[in-house]
Structures are given as structure tokens and as C-alpha cells.
Subunit: 345 residues, 4 copies
């Protein structure tokens, strides 16, 4: 069985997924595309030599019976409407982050999906498919370190676009830790506090950088995340989980070591695109396999999208108030069972 | 364009490639299978739900016009005949090692291929597609360490089958270093000498283990390879290249680190299957992509298969004589240009 | 010139320093000892075969003209009186931590020393003599990482005595980070906040463990210190300084690596005594050399002892209140110039 | 008890030991010095403010009854005569390498010492006191890796003096591995073979560099040592022991790690003097302690000096012949028991 994908949004990330599905993975085919910029949609079809219908908008694309899956890679504010429409039409959805730009929007998707009665939606949080995080989660679930007590994490970029603002440290950067860390320890967030260290001279005037987020979970785990988006030296993702019986830590990306000019070293990536490249492939392949074999996606779901939205709101508020802010989630419906480690990795 | 694969040999490695092409990679389809054990062929078709013709032998399979590529995963001694027949029929070939069991057999394939006039054959030396080796080769080709002078390598297995004999350390184990190391430094082998250290008590009576191979290239590089197939602690592949300006070394496979019970450590693999799992995927995808985009495979070719056969013969002889033995290759035909680093990785 | 040491307190740490001065280092000699337990003093003289007078109390010991240096290794509450008396007598003092049990006590020593007119006192904060911390400080002072912005530190013990209480995490454990970190970045502390993660099951009922201290300096550096005294896996000191241009991190203690039983690892120390063993030697040798060559000790001084006392008080208060507490230091007198990296290491 | 040292030879290494004994270690005192250059002797006394007699030659220095130990740091060819004279006078000797420039010379010292009836001589092979090698030896002796089978070692210098010749790779460089490796595995050498890889362009015309030494022991261990004295990148000592049950490896010198400019690294030493600085201190302190507590030195003895001389001769011969050369040692006298791991480290 080959899944027919209808793509809504043919920008950079959309084209990457189209390339992946067309040229690298098994089981999917792009059968339809649309974009608010119809020229972009046309160029994309040409670029990849797709045998795909170009639709004027998401509504008609969703209605195409050859479309089994709607791939939502449009502008963030447009996500919610497309996802809700697709869910109501009973189509599977793979939606890049954010699921919706507000917690309320996410909740409307949750409700549409529950009304439909089966999970259809996966959100594009690819870190859960990174081999390192998967190993961390397996170790924790096997009890290798006992109960997790503390997480030390860091998310560092060498530099950012001049338009990057202080709150984007949450919604564009920390958002990945927000998703992956509650999944990692299978717990819910309770509070968040932000501490601003001395600002680096390498950040523009309007940007607070670095920032430290101190998040506590309902279970009492304390999570420290350093977000530093002008660290200069490279793109660097760190995650260490301290448990009652030991510690586990994310590996550095595998890279040849060298001895040269009085240094024993390895290269650090500078471009984020290479850090989770394999994870993107595994993510989409798993999404397709889960649909075919299990009838529904197994990855981050609408509820995870809702958690991300609520938590991000609290983090931005904490940036502004300097106080410890509550992260107030509605009760998780039975429909959204707890996620477990990806079986296919 | 989807490449039609005809599989000759449905044992373990054959089925792994069938699974890979069917369920993990883009651009290929199994259209035909055969096996000397027809029941195995039938089971394989059922197991993977293939839409494939089951043929009584390789001859008729090769003749099927839907077969673009012959995937040779039969018993080693059968390889040569199948490959020659496929080449004569103008079909592409992916042949698991060995290309042929003798240097003469490899040369017959070389001649058939040159007669055909285009490269059709790729040999299943997957290490060239391993990210670590690719990084090593890129570093060397960029002049990062200057001219390579010495290679220190090790190939260690935790244990081996009781039927594993001393010469299998060459033809089953060292064979991978034989292929990848001349590619790595773009040089030809000249001599080989074998030194036998004290034997481990963990090897059976009939097996010399460990063994040290000292190989010199025409360019003067000295390559030390330790082969130790009862090392007990894990499956471990080491490769360090010492150059005039510095050293580069293969990374350990990426694995979470831990602090537990007074040890700071990472796990070492014990099963070889996991070490190059990604490399197998990249290898087959690259093979398909190269055929579609460049009209011929870009990986290890028939001449590489011939080099492996001649070198392995000299290594086995050196095991027996204890002397430095010549590795005497015929002159490389212009048809088989020097290989370069895999572009797609 | 050989410095005559008079030792006040012949318990474990006193005997270690006596052994060090007598059998491992150059330039010092134990000429007098005293202890509230005179029998202990006598045993110590016998144990090390010392040619030393046994005095009934610190007063008469200080008065001995052969005593150039008073080594204070008595019970903490007794330190202040001995140090003040020694300073008033113009004797050099090496005092194990704490300099005094209260900030006021430290201030009285500071005043006595300033009145004397020359620095005489060194406090036993040995980490400043650890090769790793010295390298960190040199790197920072050379501008290798630009301005320091954040410090991530951890102080972990495998287990503690049942009598260890929550505040001892400050006065016995964190106290070392308190001293070494302000020296490292040459800054003063401003506030401290304590966060208690979920408690490990391996801690006794009365003990909060682990604890996280978030300390801000006047210069805006944010320091995270995890104190975890029942971490089980080993004695582990971590310190990473994040700067504007890069990061530097304390090395693991040098230890052979091994490959065994599917693990690539190194041993972690379990006994704190071995972690800074070299630092103790360097500390005492530097103390003696500085007196002989420069006329006054160059290590942590009375003002550092005062800083430690004030900071520890604030940390204990922060444990109790859960609020951000101010660390209010008096202005540093010119007499106590800023410390610099140890020149002799 | 303070040991009186008479120093024969006040060049660079002589002065370093004088400084060490005078200013860093406990239990020794320089009481006499001599040098063929009397001016050098005088300058040395002044430089360190020694209370020492300056003698015109080694004979009268040895005769001084205040001289307990003769420290031989003169020109290599002069060692033998001084050592023999000191031994005949019943004085302890610490002799820098070589013990004598020929195997016959070493044997004459051995005979003098056996005639005297007690071990008096220690040779300055300091690596046995390096913490890393001590850990390796302890691991091996505890059976941690089972029987040793193979050693992979490397001795790399960034560059060498223009006068450095091919045979100096043995007598100045490999000589340290020659001493430490037989001690490490408690075995005797049997044969040696030399392989010359392609020469680095960074070596002068007259020098073969790098070189590979393949040494086999009587017990069957195979030792590979790469000597590369123009490796450019740093001073680097590697040693890995492959055993039946696992592998142990020398640590890198402890150094802070950094993340900067897209590199995760540590610094490599470039000056050999810093690599074994601690080992020199431990070596001399242990030598003094052993004399005082056990009545004779416990470090590398005259027989080890003899082994080094015989082995070096065979290695130089192997450089010239290209053949496997025998390393023919006389039978070890019972007087020279097997050495064991240094207890004091």
C-alpha cells in the first residue's frame, strides 16, 4: 500500500519532506500540492518531477480521494484551520510545529480529533526520533538510573537572524526541549521560572541572550535548560538526566576525532539542519509505517501539541514577570494515552 | 522511475536487502526472486507480501525484462556465474561479497563488463558508505592531515562460530579492511606479512587468534590491522590514519554515556549487525540513485572485487609462510577509474 | 630556610598535613603540636617520629619562638580564637576551613590581620590548587572564552554519614564551590536561590537531597550548582564555564580507559580523598614557598574566609525560605587585593 | 634522616633534580657537586643557594662521607665509571639513562653490584612512576584484562633537533618504551623487526621518520611501537594493552576541554618536559623513601639498564638489516628479582 500525500505549503520545510517521501523513504507518494503562492506549488512539482495535482487551496486538496495524508507545512497561523478540516474529513495529518499558534487552537484540534474517534494527527517534533533521545528514554524506562530527579539541558545556536526576539527563544528554540523532555521522563510540567544571566555582547540590543529556564514537573523533577542562541562556537544540543542510581547523557554527534596543531578534537556542527537529519527521515518513515500497520500514527499527537502551546505561553510569561509561573494543563483525556518509546528505532 | 530487482538467493542477507528495498528505501521494487531452494523463495515472497515472480533459476530471472537489477545474494561459489550472465545480458548487478571466490573469477567478470562497455556491477562492501569512513576519506582528500603514512586498524568480534578457521580471519573478516583501506588512501597494496601473537585461551584449538596483518602500499603507507575474533568485550572497529600533519580516527558509534557504579562509560556493540546498519541503507539507496541519475553505479566495482580477491589470497599465503608476501595486481584498466568519496553521504 | 610549624589539632586532617610537611614536601618542619586531647598530640609525635614539643594549649604553642607558622586543624568552633591569637603574635597561619564559624568571627580575624599590617593567614581551600581549576582560571583570564556568563557545576558524593543534615550541603559541601567559583571568575556574589528537586529514595528521611543552588554575581554571571550527596555512583566534581566566545570544562581525573564486557569506560572515584590529593600537596608547598619568597601567603586569605561565611549564611537562609536571598558583603578593603591565578602551578 | 646527595654533572637534568630535591621533595639534601666544567658546578651551587662542597671530580665526591647517594647526571659515556666507583664504595646511585652506553658496560655494573651484595642502583626510567602506567600495570596484575596479548604504542614528538639521527629513534626515544613495556607485562623481549613507512616530508634528509617497531616477547606478546618524531601536532605518548578479556589504555593527560570555533577539544602538550613532570617527582621521592624504609631502591635497577642496552642494540641492528633480529639476554640472576608495581603511587 502506498500512502497518497497532499502537501499544504511548499516552502523550504515542505520541499524537504517532499524530497524525503519521494526520493529517500518507502511507502509514500506526493499526489497533490497546494500553496497560497500557486507559483511555488507549480515550481515544486517541476523540481521533483511529481505526478501530483496542483490545487488552489487546502479545502479541495483535502477532498481529493487520493489524498490519504495531509502534510501541513504552511505558515504557522494557517495550521489550525487546515488540520481541523483534514481531521473532519477523516484524513491523516502530519503537521509541522506549531500544531496551532494558541492553546485554544490546539484544543479545538484535540476536540475535532476526539469527535472523529481515532487519532489521525502527528506533530513534527522530530527529536523523539533521534537515536540519542531514544536511547535516553529506553535507559530511563528500563530503570537504568532509577527515578529521574534532575535534567540539565542546553540548546545553543552559533548565531540567529536579526529579527529573532527574546520570546522566540521559547517558541522557536526551547519548544523542542518542551516537547521532548516531558516525553523523556513521562511527566507533566508544573511551573517555570526564567533567569537572565549577563547578556553576551554578541547578541543584538533587543535580545536577552542567554536565558535559563527552570522547569519543575508534577513529579518533582527539576529541569534546567540553557538557551543560548549567539554562543558562536556551534550548534549544540545537550541533555543529561540525573537519576537516583546514575546519570545518562546524550552523545555528541558521531564525528571523526583528530590530533592536529596541539589539539585533540572533534568538529562541532554549526548548521542545525545536519543535527537531526536522520531523525526527520525516521520520523516520516515511522509515521507512514504506523498508519499502514497500526491504523494510526504513534508519534507526538495533538495533545502533545497542546502541551507545547500551554507550556510555551507560561515560559513567555515567565520571561516577562521574572516570577515562577504555573503551567496549567487540562486533564489528559484517556483518548491520548501516554506515549512510549518509538518501537521502530 | 522504479528499478525492478531480481533477487538470486533468499537467505538471510537476501531477505534483509529485500526488506530494505521494499520497506525503507525509495526507488526500487522486488519483481522476481529465485533460490536453489524454491521453498525459500516462496516463503520470502509471502513474508514480505511481494508482487514478484518466482523463477526456477538465475538464467530465466535475468531474462525477465522487468528485471533491471540482479541482486546476487546466493552462496559465494555461485556468484561468478550469475554476475557474468547478468552482465552479458546488460543488467545491473549488486553482488554481495565475494564478487567471485578466486581472482581469476573476478577477472572474468571484469572482462565481461569491459566487453559490455559500461560499468554495471557494484560489490557489497558497505563500509565505504559508513559516515565515519566517509568523513575520514574527506579529511584525507582535503589534505587535513597531509600525506597518510600509517594506518592503525582493528577488527574485533566478541566471539565466532566454532567452524571459523584461521584463513577466515582473512576472507570473512579482514576482507572489509582490505576493501575500505585502499579506497580510503587511494593507493594499491604491495606486500603483506602476518604476525601471530600469543593465542587467546578463548579461541578454539584450531584457530590462531588474534592475528596482526602488516600491509604496505605501493605509495609506502604501512597498515597495521589487528584481527581478533574472540576479544570477548564487543564488536569493535577501529581505524586511525597517521599523516604528515596530523591524525584522524574513526568515531565510536554514537551512544549515550552513563555514570553508574563508579564507571563513566558508553556501551560497546556486541552484534556486528548494528554497527553498519545505516551504511547498508545508504549503500543500496546510493546504488539505485546512481543508476537512475548517472547511468552506472558509483560504489565498489568489479575491479575492487578483483583487488579484494588478490589481496586475500596473498594474506592467506602470508598466514601460512610467515614471510612477507607480494600482492601482485594486474594494471588497473582505464575503464576502472579511481573511486572517490561517495557524494551522496 | 626551614619553616617551623606548630600544629593545633592532631585529628585526621592535622595528621595528614603533618605527614605531608614531614615526608613529602620541602621547606617545613613540625616543631610543636598541641591538642585538647593531649594523648592524641603525643601519639602523633610518636607516629611520625617528630622532633616536636608537645604544648598544653595553643597559647603557649604560639609563643614558642621556633614556631613560624601555626597550622590550625582543630575543631571548627576553636579556629577563630587560635587564628586571632596567632595573628596578634605575628605568626603565619594556615587554617583549615572554616576560618571561623560566623561572618562576624571572620571579620574579627580580618581586622586583627589588617591591624597587624601584613597578610599572614591562608585558609585551606585547596581547589584553587587543583590543576583543572587552575587551567580553567588561566583560560578565562587569557580571554579564551570571552566574558563568562554562566557556570554549570555539580558536587556529588556517593553517600554521606547519617548525621549529615540539609544545611551541611552548604557548610560542608557547597562551601568548596563557594570559595573556588568567585575566585574563578573574579566576581562577587549577589543573590542565591535554592530549588529542591524530588528527593532521592537513597537519602535519609531528614535530608533534602539533591539540591540546586542558583547564585548570581554582581557582574551578572549565573551559577548553577547541583549538590547531590547520595548520588551513589561516585565522587564527582563538575564545572563548566560558558562564555561569550566558547566554553571550558573541568577535566575528569586522569584514569586509564578500558574496553570490557561491552563497555568502554573509565573508573570514577568513590572516595573524595583521592580527588584533590595533589591539590593538598601543591597548596601547602605554595604556602611555604610564598612565605619564604614573597613574605606572605598568596592563597585564599581571610577575606575569602569571610566571603565563604557570609555566602554560606545566605545559602542556608535560602534553603529555609525558598526565596532569592541577598548575599551582602562589606566592601573589600584595599588590603585584600584581588587574587590571581596561582603562579607556581 | 636526611639523605646527602652528591651530584655528578650539573647540566640541565642535573639542575632539575637538584631543584626537585632541594625545593619540592622531603628527605634529601645536596651536599656535594662536581662537573667536568667546574664553573658549571659553581654556578649551580650559587643558583640554588646550596650548602654543598664543590669537588674536582667524581672520585673525591664519592669518597665524601656525607654523600649517601651519588646522583649521576653527567654525559652518558661517563656514567659507567662513576656508577661502578660509587657501587664499589657502597654508595647508593641514581643514574640517569643510559646506565652505560654498552651492554657490556651495564653488565660490569651488574657484576659490581652483585659483588657488593645489595642493590644500590636505580636507573632514571621515570615512566614507571607515571600514574597512567602504574594504573595499567595494576589492572594487568589484577587480571582485569586476562593475559596480555598485544600492545599498541606510539611515541610522537612534534619535531626534533637537526642532529637527531635514525638510530636515535631507538636510543633516545624508543628507549623509554623499551624499559616500561617489559616491566608493564613482566616479560622478556625475544625479537624485534623494524618497518619504515613512507617518510614524512617534515623530516630532514638523513632521518627515517616515522618508524614502526614490532617486538615479540618470550611469552608471545606482540608489541607495536610507532616512533614518529616529526609528527608536528604535539608530544603524544600512547599505550594500549589488548588482553584476553579486555583492553586497557593510557589516559590522555588531564586537561580542560573546550568548545570553541566549531571544535570540541582538549589541548595536546607540545613540550615533552610537562608530560612526565609529576613522574620525575614521584620517582625521586620513591627512591629516597625506599632507601630509608627498605634499605634499597625499588625502581628500575641495573638489570633493567642492561635489558635496555641489549634491546636497543638489537633495535638499531634491525633498523639496518630490515630483518627480524634476536634480543639475546643473559639469564636474569636471582639477585634481580622481578619488579612489581610501585607501592607508593
Amino acid at each position: 500500500m502506498t500512502l497518497g500525500f497532499g502537501v499544504v505549503g511548499t516552502g523550504a520545510i515542505g520541499r524537504e519532506h517532499i524530497n524525503r517521501i519521494t526520493n529517500k523513504l518507502a511507502g509514500g507518494k506526493i499526489v497533490a500540492v497546494t500553496d497560497v503562492n500557486q507559483e511555488s506549488a507549480k515550481q515544486t512539482v517541476d523540481q521533483f518531477g511529481l505526478d501530483a495535482v496542483i490545487y488552489p487551496n487546502d479545502k479541495v486538496l483535502i477532498a481529493d480521494e487520493n489524498v490519504d495524508v495531509v502534510l501541513v507545512t504552511s505558515w504557522g497561523p494557517a495550521h489550525e484551520a487546515t488540520v481541523v478540516a483534514a481531521v473532519e474529513a477523516g484524513k491523516y495529518v502530519f503537521c509541522e510545529k506549531p500544531l496551532a499558534t494558541t492553546a485554544e487552537g490546539c484544543m479545538r484540534i484535540v476536540e475535532a480529533e476526539m469527535k472523529h474517534g481515532k487519532k489521525l494527527v502527528q506533530v513534527g517534533f522530530m527529536r523523539r526520533y533521534d537515536s540519542g533521545y531514544v536511547q535516553l528514554k529506553q535507559a530511563i524506562e528500563e530503570g537504568f538510573i532509577g527515578e529521574p530527579l534532575i535534567i540539565h539541558a542546553a540548546h545553543r545556536n552559533p548565531t540567529v537572524d536579526p529579527r529573532y526576539t527574546t520570546d522566540m527563544a521559547v517558541v522557536d528554540t526551547l519548544i523542542h526541549e518542551i516537547d521532548v523532555l516531558h516525553w523523556l521522563v513521562n511527566d507533566d510540567y508544573k511551573t517555570v521560572q526564567v533567569v537572565f544571566p549577563k547578556k553576551t555582547k554578541n547578541a543584538l540590543e533587543h535580545l536577552r541572550d542567554p536565558q535559563l529556564f527552570i522547569i519543575e514537573t508534577k513529579g518533582g523533577i527539576v529541569i534546567n535548560v540553557e538557551v543560548f542562541v549567539n554562543c558562536k562556537y556551534g550548534y549544540d544540543i545537550q541533555c543529561e538526566v540525573v537519576g537516583e542510581e546514575g546519570i545518562v547523557k546524550l552523545p555528541e554527534p558521531a564525528s571523526i576525532s583528530f590530533r592536529k596543531e596541539a589539539t585533540l578534537g572533534t568538529k562541532i556542527l554549526t548548521d542545525w539542519k545536519y543535527r537531526f537529519m536522520d531523525a526527520y527521515d525516521v520520523e516520516i518513515q515511522d509515521f507512514m509505517d504506523a498508519i499502514v500497520k497500526k491504523g494510526e500514527p504513534q508519534g507526538p499527537d495533538s495533545w502533545d501539541g497542546y502541551i507545547a502551546a500551554v507550556t510555551a505561553d507560561a515560559c513567555v510569561k515567565a520571561q516577562q514577570t521574572g516570577e515562577k509561573e504555573a503551567i496549567t494543563l487540562q486533564e489528559r483525556p484517556a483518548f491520548y494515552r501516554e506515549t512510549t518509546v518509538c518501537e521502530t528505532v
